[in-house]
């Protein structure tokens, strides 16, 4: 009651003031100082690590740990340019059909062997093989042949141009190189070229990593990392407060402000970690009618949602593209709340007050979605809709909404992807792997397909901007917000400003050190 009042007021007060309030990429914790060598860092990790095979694992949280054991053939810088990593250079033929990678010499695996083209061929073919069950196998769909003319050269021949190929290699998983023939043991004991070596895992409890002395970018500062898997957010917070943990990720949203005010800790926030949207089932009338979707969009005050559901830990957006990436369409502005317009659109679509009835399904896996649904429920009532909210566990949500597509309206969030093909094709193309909303828009389909075969980056960016405009105009989904990533650390943890990878998801522990 009180909180709802607060939300109403704050909505009036903040108006548009928060809109695009240029939030620094990193909070006030950024440190200077000289790294010291040694020490064991205890990390309170928010998830239980699952399959440790980097190619197979689907969860971002497991990758977050594994990224410290591996490196990919290429990576991205903070402007999302593809830059060399294990390949010291790469080259794409003019027709977009041949990729040549020149490998860095003397890169050592944790096993002591030296990285060669055979390992790259093995890794790529392993991901491509459907039997491997790799998450990103489709990255290699257009790969016709992989040649290894010498130890340090890899040539990838494509059957047709595939514009996102390099970018996808820089993403989690697909471009990671493992030693030739090591596939069968990766799930239990991952081996790579990364800054930390895997020592052991006590299932569900902790994972131990040690510094790899021969790391090709120079050894890390820390001797050891112990990743303690603590899924309960308040337990992580207690672990930090009692000093049992040096660093924790994912601070409960309602506790961020309190921790920020505490001088005993450093709080790091980055923007954005994920984005969220409201979904309509396009196969169900009347949600196949753009007027109904737009009417619902008009009922939502996104600013208030960010305050009320995210406790201010995020920002509104109308584009789901990574904000600093070229594909982010700056011309789209969040639709303001306008009940008159909403009612007019509903009337036009044939629904008077109280005549449209539906169920809004949300998953309790994301508590902020539950809060958001409750706030939206009030607006939907005010707009003359007859809505009930149904809360589902994660497994129920997956089976009902994601797989069976049995819902009217739902909402979901995804990690922010800077690579637009993956984002737009899989989510909005009618045949996209993530099209759980049954979106079937010929204009979107054509744009997503065209972007995929357009090699010129500027031209491609333009297509993605058009695509976003179409999603927005038709309100195919209602994009709501970007949510901040958060982590907190003891004051003696150095190098926090470099911890978060430009992709906004990975944590690079090699940059951290412990002051004694």
């Amino acid at each position: 009651m009180k909180r709802r009042d607060f939300i109403r007021h704050s909505s009036a007060l903040t108006g548009g003031a928060l809109l695009l309030g240029a939030m620094p990429t990193l909070g006030a914790y950024a440190q200077s100082g000289t790294p010291t060598k040694g020490g064991t860092l205890i990390w309170g990790h928010s998830e239980t690590t699952q399959n440790l095979d980097m190619h197979q694992t689907g969860t971002a949280s497991t990758s977050r740990l594994l990224e410290n054991i591996h490196d990919a053939i290429v990576t991205v810088d903070s402007d999302f340019n593809i830059v060399p990593s294990l390949a010291e250079s790469f080259d794409v033929s003019e027709d977009g059909l041949t990729y040549t990678f020149r490998l860095r010499p003397n890169v050592k695996f944790h096993t002591g062997t030296t990285l060669s083209s055979a390992d790259v061929k093995y890794s790529f073919e392993r991901v491509k093989d459907p039997k491997t069950g790799a998450v990103n196998f489709e990255v290699f769909n257009d790969v016709a042949e992989i040649l290894t003319p010498d130890d340090l050269t890899v040539i990838v021949k494509m059957s047709q141009p595939n514009a996102p190929f390099l970018a996808r290699l820089a993403e989690n998983g697909a471009g990671v190189i493992i030693p030739d023939g090591s596939g069968d043991t990766q799930g239990e004991h991952p081996v790579g070229v990364g800054p930390f070596e895997f020592v052991s895992r006590e299932f569900g409890n902790e994972v131990e990593l040690v510094r790899f002395a021969d790391y090709w970018q120079g050894p890390a500062h820390l001797d050891k990392i112990i990743s303690r898997e603590v899924t309960e957010p308040t337990v992580r917070l207690t672990g930090l407060r009692t000093g049992e943990m040096h660093i924790i990720n994912d601070i409960p949203l309602d506790r961020v402000t309190e921790l920020e005010a505490d001088s005993n800790f450093q709080v790091s926030k980055w923007f954005p970690l994920s984005w969220a949207f409201l979904n309509f089932n396009h196969k169900r009338a009347p949600f196949n009618d753009a007027r109904v979707r737009l009417a619902i969009d008009h009922m939502i005050d996104k600013e208030v949602l960010v305050q009320g559901a995210l406790w201010g830990q995020g920002e509104v957006t109308a584009s789901p593209s990574f904000p600093s990436s070229a594909s982010f369409n700056k011309d789209l502005s969040v639709r303001p709340q306008n009940f008159d317009e909403a009612r007019r659109l509903l009337q036009e679509a044939g629904f008077g007050p109280g005549e449209l009835e539906f169920v809004f399904k949300v998953t309790t896996n994301y508590p902020w979605h539950v809060e958001a649904s409750q706030i939206m429920l009030e607006w939907f009532r005010e707009g003359g809709l007859n809505v009930s909210v149904q809360q589902l566990t994660w497994s129920d949500w997956l089976s009902q909404c994601w797989v069976d597509r049995d819902y009217d309206v739902t909402m979901m969030n995804f990690f922010t992807l800077w690579e637009p093909d993956f984002l737009y094709y899989s989510l909005w193309h009618s045949t996209g792997a993530f099209n759980y909303r049954n979106v079937n828009d010929p204009v979107v389909d054509e744009l997503a397909q065209r972007a995929r075969v357009t090699v010129d980056p500027a031209e491609r960016t333009k297509i993605y901007h058009e695509l976003q405009q179409r999603v927005y105009d038709e309100a195919l989904d209602v994009v709501l917000w970007f949510r901040n990533g958060t982590l907190a650390a003891q004051n003696n943890v150095g190098g926090l400003d470099k911890l978060v990878h430009p992709n906004g998801s990975n944590l690079e522990f090699r940059h951290l050190w412990l002051d004694t």
Binding site: T48, Q50, N51, G58, T59, V135, G187, E202, F203, G204, N205, E206, R228, E229, V230, T231, E232, V235, T238, G239, R241, T242, G243, E244, T393, W394, S395, D396, L398, S399, Q400, W402, V403, D404, M412, F414, A433, F434
Partner: protein, 313 residues
């Protein structure tokens, strides 16, 4: 001996029934492990393929037969979600939970009996009031509440004990005890309260009997009267309750283990349920039920030792 055999046969039959009921219930629940494994990568085609691979499409009778067949040969199967052999998972997690359960039982008995005895001896005087008050608080407030209080006091304010996590006794014995101590206390508090109240009333009853008057008349010291004669007669029902509660303790570890992020059987059961991992749920429920029933059986057998008048044959 015949009694024992009967009991064991009954126990096996009950476990079989429990496994069937668990199996049916988990299969009735919506969603399955395939959707959880695939997560947001799943689509009807890939999930159907995975269901096929995991054998989820076979008739329930076949699935159950496969499970029970493996069980009878000592094979617990493999967790569908975590791809780990369940036998080894159970081994690790049983040891972890066993530690806090046994520790909490010890703490509960060692603190409850003196508390109950003092309350009985000083009936209706302040030690009785304090002891009853403590017992009432222990019974009325849930273990997760006490868990939070313990964390605040011993971890945050005093900094004596760690607030979360499990350490294997094989790695570092003392550290593992330190990690187990707070969860054990939280788990054992309500049991302690129950036992203290039971001890008090049993003691009061015994103390009013004639043979106690005889003991006093013989000139025995008050300590000897209370400890050797009264307590020994009062303790049988207390032990029964303690033993029965062992199974109950094992059942309430889910909450306490989550609170302290202590990854034992409770955690494993919770993960199984969350992921609809049928073989894992089967195994954990089976174990918890078995512990419950075995502890009852053992209590009944201990009876005959504590009170020679009782015999089952």
């Amino acid at each position: 001996m015949r009694y024992l055999l009967n009991r064991i046969a009954l126990l096996a039959l009950t476990l079989l029934l429990i496994s069937i009921v668990t199996f049916i219930l988990t299969n009735i629940l919506p969603g399955n492990v395939a959707t959880m494994i695939m997560g947001t990568r799943g689509n009807p085609v890939s999930i159907a393929a995975l269901e096929q691979e995991l054998g989820l499409n076979d008739p329930l009778v076949v699935q159950y037969g496969r499970w029970i067949g493996g069980m009878l040969q000592g094979d617990w199967g493999t967790s569908l979600r975590f791809k780990e052999p369940i036998g080894s998972l159970l081994g690790q997690k049983m040891a972890a939970s066993g530690m806090i359960v046994v520790l909490s039982l010890i703490i509960a008995i060692l603190s409850a009996i003196p508390l109950g005895v003092i309350a009985a001896v000083k009936q209706n005087r302040w030690p009785d009031t304090v002891s009853s008050g403590v017992a009432l608080a222990g019974i009325s407030l849930p273990d997760f509440f006490w868990g939070i209080v313990l964390i605040l006091l011993f971890s945050r304010t005093l900094g004596w004990l760690p607030s979360s996590g499990f350490v294997s006794p094989a790695d570092d014995f003392w550290l593992s005890i330190k990690h187990a101590l707070l969860p054990a206390i939280a788990l054992g508090l309500s049991l302690m309260a129950h036992l203290a109240r039971m001890t008090r009333s049993a003691m009061l009853e015994v103390m009013s009997q004639d043979f106690i008057r005889v003991c006093r008349a013989k000139g025995l010291s008050e300590g000897s009267v209370i400890l050797r004669h009264a307590l020994q007669n009062a303790i049988a029902p207390v032990v029964t309750v303690a033993g029965l509660q062992l199974g109950y303790l094992f059942g309430s570890i889910i909450v306490v283990e989550s609170l302290f992020n202590y990854t034992g059987m409770g955690w494993l059961t919770y993960q199984g349920l969350l992921n609809r991992d049928v073989p894992l749920i089967q195994a954990t429920v089976f174990i918890i039920a078995a512990v419950f029933m075995l502890s009852n059986l053992i209590v009944d057998l201990i009876y005959t030792v504590l009170d020679p008048r009782i015999s089952f044959d």
